[in-house]
């Protein structure tokens, strides 16, 4: 527990209010990150990146990028209906 000095007047539930603020900010940040990752532009970006890397070298990373991009495209298609 962090003990405040006695000469500063802080309400007793200030700690709880700060925790709630941080909670809300964290939840919004996580939601926005998930929205960015599951959006169509990110899927198109993944497909383009994978198709740059995959054909000449045959990397595993490029292959999985392609699969993930296709997966994101299908998810967005399903959510439209």
């Amino acid at each position: 527990m962090c003990s405040s000095p006695s000469w500063i007047q802080i309400p007793q539930d200030a700690y709880l209010v700060v925790v709630e603020m941080l909670d809300e900010i964290l939840i919004q940040v996580v939601i926005s990150i998930v929205e960015i990752i599951t959006s169509i532009p990110f899927g198109a970006f993944l497909i383009a990146f994978g198709s740059i890397i995959y054909p000449p070298t045959g990397n595993k990373l490029g292959k999985y990028c392609l699969f993930l991009g296709l997966f994101l495209f299908t998810i967005n298609q399903i959510s439209h209906f």
């Binding site: 200030a14 209010v17 603020m21 809300e24 900010i25 919004q28 940040v29 926005s32 990150i33 929205e35 960015i36 959006s39 532009p41 990110f42 198109a44 970006f45 497909i47 383009a48 990146f49 198709s51 740059i52 995959y54 054909p55 000449p56 045959g58 392609l66 296709l70 495209f73």
Partner: protein, 162 residues
């Protein structure tokens, strides 16, 4: 507690995420064109190694990979070989250059495979041999590989205007 506004923080986070998405969208056309060019170059080099070199397996694999990627990309994104300008926000300055590059490369590869095909056909007619039969098969496969990404529609080449 009046100093904290959850609404403004929400707004700033939303604007930031939309900013990141707009950056991705602005990068996309360049990446798509790069992907088309690299997959075409990979197809051509794989075809040349498949035709000429002794280790055919590598060339076959490269052809297979690049064909899969090209077909997938053709179905998802607008193909830059089309002479008509697609309407999906891709920058119009880059498309003709890439279409010329890819069509030149594909036509050189097609000409090479045609030359190999005709030469091996003549040699096969003179003296039938298993090796020549194999070479014939290879050159036919390479011709088909050229025709597939072109989509059987031939772009306007500047060669034909000369």
């Amino acid at each position: 507690m009046s100093g904290f506004d959850p609404f403004t923080i929400e707004q700033t986070i939303e604007t930031f995420s939309s900013y990141i998405i707009s950056i991705l969208e602005s990068i996309l056309p360049v990446l798509i064109i790069l992907a088309f060019v690299t997959s075409n170059i990979a197809l051509i080099f794989g075809g040349i190694t498949y035709l000429v070199d002794y280790n055919e397996e590598n060339g076959k694999r490269i052809i297979f990979r690049s064909l899969i990627v090209l077909i997938l990309m053709m179905n998802i994104f607008p193909y830059p070989l089309d002479n008509e300008q697609p309407e999906t926000g891709i920058q119009t300055d880059i498309i003709p250059i890439t279409s010329y590059i890819t069509s030149y490369l594909l036509f050189t590869f097609g000409a090479l495979s045609l030359i190999v095909f005709i030469g091996n056909l003549g040699l096969f007619l003179i003296e039938a041999d298993l090796k020549r039969k194999k070479n014939l098969k290879k050159s036919i496969i390479c011709l088909l590989c050229v025709l597939l990404p072109l989509g059987f529609k031939f772009p306007k080449m500047p060669i034909w205007l000369w």
